[in-house]
């Protein structure tokens, strides 16, 4: 099965080509092609998983490839690396894409560019899988850029909406800034190790560090350069600004790309190149703190947002922050585990919100309410998702998040306690704002009766994914049921060790009382605000107005960046354009021509027309020459 793994990226790519060239006009065929390929990819992924499981845990890594370009001493390959990590990602990506594509059947049904939409989805999946199965730094970068393109195309899918167009541009450019670092990192690797291959680099680093030919600080430098890429792609602070705007794209896209898969690519990349990061505490610290800060920072913003999708976007940010932090503190397994669970419940949440939007054509939560009466399935599934993300046992989120907290607690990096409390507080915030969302949207009375009356449960194609994902959001966590620890035994870095190390569920609960407490606290608090209405959010907003505004305006980051770009970049551009037009062009170029013509004009004044002047010139010339020559 593994030897066919190269098909996984290839099939969707083919689907893309087919749809673009041939079946643009037949929407159903296009959708069919794309979904079928996706299904087969999923099947392959499952097959690969089982094949891996059959292998002996020590040697669960298969790689093969072919040369892509070659200039001595370099040889850039395109190849496949199948190991637990990539198998895990393959499953997540293929499965979520499959569901999202099914979901889109309903969601995008009336869109005139239906086929185009599916072609883009296929292209995205292809690039994402290319990234996932990559066995070298160059290929991962290639996939990296391509998913960036797809995200650009899909965010700007409704290009005629100026916001969409802007958001797309923003997403691409911001990512590009991160990628600049990534590219430099890749080039540096190529330079130092003369190869791009993961395995070889890994060995070389190990050797280099062992016999001190390679300073760990240097490796840290490379790692941080690579991390820039992750910061961009996973929308970590300070490059987080693009993700909320990316919500301009169709909701299934947000679910797939901007919640479950692409944004997780950063996390995956860090995990993939973990040996570089773990070489030096410096890089680990940077990663951990960036992640931790993003987690709490984004969560705090989410408190004050009104757009259903933006709230979810910020929660995505914060969850990604969790994963990054977890990797930073050495919680490799927990990070990846959270990635997996998060993929399920965040996709679920997004799709749920999509179904809501589909019903109401409305995104402002303050215009919703009481939907539970009309949309049973959506409500229940959404509730499950919310519980999962809030970290209530036994839902999926609980296990992964708790593992992360353990990892942070046990970690040895610089002042890990800060991170720990930040993480815990984030957990509290998460619970709070997620339930705020839930209560406001699904419970209580309808606020906008017009749209409420038209509201209806979504079609089967949309509900099916919801249900499936809801099921997963409950069960996926059980992979790491204490004592079983299936996931931890499958995906780990270095030698196997089990975080927390609880032997049974009760022990786990007792161990992680704190996270449960904060989660419950968060839920109750938001219930007091938005369900029982004991406290009034409005009053709070008024009393703490400055803070409220700060949060509502996302700490004014967009404005700040906008100002920088406008002032510096475009300022410089203005100056240089002036320089180019006036100085170089008119001054230097046309100037010289002008001078020549003027000189010609002046010189031709010597042609006075008086014959004797001419004679005089002749005489003078002879005289002067004679004098010059003889003296």
């Amino acid at each position: 099965m593994i030897q066919y793994s190269w098909l996984i990226p290839t099939l969707p790519a083919l689907a893309y080509v087919l749809i673009t060239i041939f079946t643009k006009r037949f929407k159903n065929i296009s959708a069919a092609i794309s979904i079928l390929t996706m299904a087969s990819c999923f099947a392959l992924a499952v097959g690969i998983l089982f094949e891996l499981l059959k292998m002996d845990p020590a040697s669960r890594s298969v790689t093969f490839g072919t040369t892509w370009l070659q200039i001595a001493p370099w040889q850039a390959n395109v190849g496949v690396l199948i190991d637990p990590l990539s198998a895990n990602m393959l499953l997540v990506v293929t499965f979520i894409s499959l569901l999202v594509q099914i979901y889109s059947l309903g969601y995008m049904h009336d869109d005139e560019r239906f086929s185009t939409y599916y072609s883009y989805l296929s292209l995205f999946t292809a690039s994402m899988l290319l990234l996932v199965v990559s066995n070298n730094y160059l290929q991962i970068f290639v996939g990296w850029e391509l998913v960036g393109l797809c995200s650009y195309l899909l965010i700007g899918f409704w290009y005629f909406k100026p916001e969409a167009a802007n958001a797309a541009k923003k997403a691409f450019v911001v990512n590009r800034i991160g990628d600049m670092g990534f590219l430099m990192g890749v080039v540096t690797i190529g330079m130092v190790f003369q190869t791009f291959d993961f395995a070889q680099v890994k060995d070389l680093v190990a050797q280099g560090l062992a016999n001190h030919t390679l300073a760990s600080g240097y490796v840290a430098g490379i790692a941080i350069l690579l991390f820039c890429g992750a910061v961009g792609k996973s929308a970590q602070f300070p490059l987080h600004v693009w993700l909320p705007d990316a919500m301009e794209g169709p909701t299934p896209v947000s679910a797939l790309i901007h919640a479950a898969t692409m944004v997780a690519a950063g996390v995956f990349m860090v995990a993939r190149t973990y040996n570089l990061f773990s070489a030096d505490p410096l890089s680990m610290t940077v990663v951990a703190y960036i992640g931790g800060f993003t987690a709490i920072f984004a969560a705090s913003i989410a408190l004050a947002q009104d757009d259903i999708k933006r709230i979810l976007a910020y929660s995505t940010l914060s969850q990604l922050g969790y994963m990054i932090m977890s990797l930073g503190v050495g919680g490799y397994t927990s990070g990846m585990f959270h990635l997996t669970t998060h993929a399920c419940f965040k996709a679920l949440l997004f799709l749920g919100s999509g179904s809501v939007i589909h019903a109401l054509h409305e995104q402002d939560i303050w215009k919703m309410g009481g939907l539970s009466k009309k949309m049973k399935i959506t409500t229940i599934t959404f509730a499950i998702g919310t519980l999962a993300i809030a970290g209530i046992p036994p839902f999926a989120g609980f296990f992964s998040k708790d593992a992360i907290l353990d990892a942070v607690k046990d970690s040895t990096i610089w002042h890990h306690e800060i991170l720990y409390y930040a993480a815990v507080f984030t957990a509290f915030l998460t619970a709070f704002y997620m339930f705020r969302l839930f209560f406001v949207v699904f419970t209580g009375e309808a606020r906008d009766h017009h749209s409420f009356d038209h509201a209806h449960e979504s079609p089967f194609t949309m509900c099916l994914p919801l249900v499936l994902l809801a099921g997963l959001s409950i069960c996926v966590g059980w992979l790491n049921w204490p004592g079983v620890d299936a996931y931890s035994k499958f995906v780990y870095y270095g030698d196997l060790h089990l975080e927390g190390g609880a032997s049974n569920f009760v022990q786990l609960l007792t161990q992680s009382w704190l996270s449960i407490v904060v989660a419950v606290a968060g839920i109750t608090l938001s219930a007091m605000f938005y369900y029982w209405r004991i406290f009034s959010a409005e009053k709070m907003a008024v009393t703490f107005r400055p803070i409220y505004l700060l949060l509502k305006n996302k700490y004014y980051f967009d404005e700040f960046y906008g100002w920088i770009v406008k002032t510096f970049l475009f300022g410089l551009a203005t100056i240089l354009k002036w320089f180019d037009d006036e100085v170089v062009d008119d001054g230097m170029v046309d100037g010289s021509g002008w001078v020549a013509r003027k000189m010609g004009g002046l010189l031709s004044l010597t042609q006075t027309g008086y014959v004797q002047n001419y004679a005089l010139v002749v005489f003078g010339a002879v005289a002067v020459i004679f004098l010059l020559v003889s003296f």
């Binding site: 004044l605 027309g609 008086y610």
Partner: protein
């Protein structure tokens, strides 16, 4: 007169040439300019004869040259007068400075 040294002739020629040149450069009347040129040519003739005498009279190179110069000068003068007359027809003057329509 065999004892007049060569240089005297050369001085004379030089002075004559200078005078002629002055005429060419300074006189405004086309005819006088022409005469200036004739003077210059005559200076040349003196030179030639002087040098001829200095080398040896037997080779007729110098005198022959002079003869040619004189002849050509005559031809030149003829053409010149013709042109000057025709100019005069147009401008009603033989002043060289009045013919300066071609310039720039």
């Amino acid at each position: 007169m065999n004892n007049i040294p060569l240089v005297h002739f050369l001085y004379l020629a030089g002075i004559l040439f200078g005078i002629g040149m002055f005429g060419v450069l300074a006189r405004k009347n086309a005819i006088s300019v022409l005469m200036g040129i004739e003077l210059m040519l005559n200076a040349v003739n003196i030179n030639f004869l002087a040098f001829a005498r200095y080398w040896n009279w037997n080779s007729l190179t110098g005198p022959v040259f002079v003869v040619f110069v004189i002849t050509i000068a005559a031809a030149e003068a003829a053409v010149a007068l013709a042109i000057i007359i025709s100019i005069y027809r147009h401008l009603r003057t033989a002043n060289v400075d009045d013919a300066h329509y071609l310039r720039g």
